[in-house]
Amino acid sequence: MELNISIRKKLPHFDLDVTFGCRKGRLLVLVGPSGAGKTTIIRMLAGLDRPDKGRIQYGGETWLDTEKNLFLAPQKRRVGYVFQEYTLFPHLTVSGNVAFSAEDKAEVPSLLKRFNIWHLKDRKPDRISGGERQRCAICQAMARRPRLLLLDEPFSALDAVTRQNLREELQKLKRELSIPIIHVTHDISEALYLGDDVLPMVNGRIVRKWMVQFMLKGRPPVPERPAEPEDAYGYRDRQDLSILYNSLEMMH
């Protein structure tokens, strides 16, 4: 299954205009500074936001086509969405959260064990740590047997050790799943650690595409700033590339 997205939307400070695709079993990372439009893209993929113009296709199914006035409701897309902040249901226990929309309730115990939260199953979300909450949120998303997994900066509020543990777990999960995964982050090292494909974004546009497998091992995450970006990378918009480099260097 392949996901293809092409969307345009007028945002307060710039126009969001992106086109990309993601194949099953691959993890695509949208990386860029805050306010680049990354979250807006995955909200559109989830059906929580609509573009002014565009098309989203998953396999043979059209989720959105503004020309044909076609829009598939979020309920029918069957995507897993892990939000930036914790969005577990506070009135339910960990187990209740995972079972909330599980395709098969009998799978819940094994999922809880798989994500190492079995011992927390009877606790409410406010009685567990941030890392455990995000693990529970991923588990909740997986219980729905999603066709696409969307991760919106899920580790940004966590401490360094927990973040690294969860990154490793996500790597493991990626190998087990055969669905497209789209991960949004402003952390360039996280993008390169997790991603198969990395799309750096600035002001609503994807400014280039990195295929991590072709990047040299040990190469610094921020590529050397070329003397002439246009000649070196074939990008016409020097300003965009310049902003990206500045942003990446600032993030470093």
């Binding site: 989830a46 929580l48 979020p74 939000f83 969005t87 249901f89 909740q140 729905r144």
Partner: protein, 221 residues
């Protein structure tokens, strides 16, 4: 002292509370989550009984509830009996009079719920109706409890509207507040004092009970 007015007051408060909490929840949902034209006018209209003098509200209710009025005529066509000066009549009047007291705490509770919880529910496959019952209501339970308390106590103390719409028919519309007024008018101070003495602990105990339920919801103990 005749216990009938007290019993009638409690019955009226109970019926009004149950009906109003059920009725106010979807109305509050409309006000908080649905965008529609004229929403602020609708909101103000629902809250109008809070600021109107009870006699003014009672007067208009009396007009629409008589067999010639819209609601009264409909009621008579369906049930075969008039609406004014009956228990059903004072229930309808109480529902209108206490509606803002049901909506306001619920609205505050609904507004407190993080919208992302609802978005998460939609992504997880829930329809807006299912999300209402499975996400909004459980997370606004303290607001619902506060609504129930306010409506119950407010109804227990109702006087002007009930007098206008129901009069003072023993066993039918003579609630405690009217019975107390009549006892004082007839210089039966002992009867009035006794009823007041019973009403105060009932109201207080009910408040304590709901507070306890609300705390249990918040702290999960």
């Amino acid at each position: 002292m005749d216990p009938a007015p007290l019993y009638l007051s409690l019955k009226l408060a109970f019926v009004t509370t149950v009906v109003l909490v059920i009725l106010a929840a979807p109305l509050t949902y409309l006000l908080v989550y649905v965008r529609f034209a004229g929403k602020s006018f609708f909101d103000a209209l629902l809250n109008l009984p809070m600021v109107l003098p009870p006699t003014v509200l009672g007067f208009y209710l009396l007009l629409v509830m008589t067999p010639r009025g819209g609601i009264g005529r409909f009621w008579q066509a369906v049930t075969g009996s008039p609406l004014v000066f009956t228990f059903a009549g004072i229930v309808v009047a109480s529902l209108v009079y206490s509606l803002p007291f049901a909506i306001q705490p619920m609205k505050a509770a609904f507004e407190k719920i993080d919208r992302r919880l609802l978005e998460s529910a939609y992504v997880l496959g829930l329809s807006p109706l299912a999300a209402f019952f499975r996400v909004i209501i459980p997370n606004a339970i303290n607001g619902l409890a506060a609504s129930a308390v306010l409506v119950f106590i407010h109804t227990l103390g109702e006087f002007g509207v009930i007098l206008m719409v129901g009069g003072s028919i023993p066993g039918e519309t003579r609630v405690a507040s009217i019975a107390i007024y009549e006892a004082v008018e007839a210089l039966r101070y002992e009867d009035a004092a006794m009823m007041c003495l019973i009403l105060v602990p009932i109201s207080y105990l009910f408040l304590l009970l709901i507070n306890r339920l609300t705390q249990r919801q918040i702290y999960g103990t």
